[in-house]
Symmetry: C2
Subunit: 110 residues, 2 copies
């Protein structure tokens, strides 16, 4: 696994599907960069994750919906949030015109 | 602790000293935002950390020196690196003209 890099340069082309790169894997911890280009979660699909996820949007734009909230949250560069384990959520929208770059830190909870 | 925010907006004034904000604390894991404005490690000081640190520069510019490397590494937006536990390092320079924003993920190693 690489020990250094740049998250903004040399972005892969996510036109055919989201591209996930694992940047770090350690006990109970995984850091990923995810590049989206217009993808969204399939209709009716909800993520229900064993681990919590601390997620940061580095570039682009997205809308993230929680099952326990009536409306999606708009996310722009610099926005972060902590998603508790098993809190159901889905990506309603990502910008189809420019890459959306996510940093996701999957971790164990307290 | 907050569960959401923005790392780029409403930056604190780090003119009088680096400002660290803990964004997440979980078992063996701590995520921090650090804002620097011209600060560097004191002369002769080296960080020697019990935990590994995955660090990402979000904005600004810095030079990071490892004790086992002859020259400092220049860092710009999007640059990340993994610093092994007890690998001695220091911040040689941060840009005095614009805030440097770091995201630091302190974690246990394999």
């Amino acid at each position: 696994m690489k020990r250094a890099g740049n998250l903004s340069r040399d972005l892969p082309d996510a036109g055919a599907g989201e591209i996930t790169q694992t940047l770090l894997a350690a006990p109970g911890l995984r850091i990923e960069r995810i590049v989206s280009l217009g993808q969204a979660s399939p209709p009716g699909f909800w993520y229900d994750q064993e681990q919590a996820e601390w997620v940061l949007l580095l570039a682009g734009a997205a809308r993230l919906r929680f099952a326990d909230e009536p409306e999606a949250r708009p996310l722009g560069p610099g926005d972060w949030l902590e998603i508790a384990a098993h809190r159901r959520h889905r990506v309603e929208w990502t910008d189809p015109t420019t890459p959306t770059v996510w940093l996701a830190v999957f971790h164990n909870e307290m």
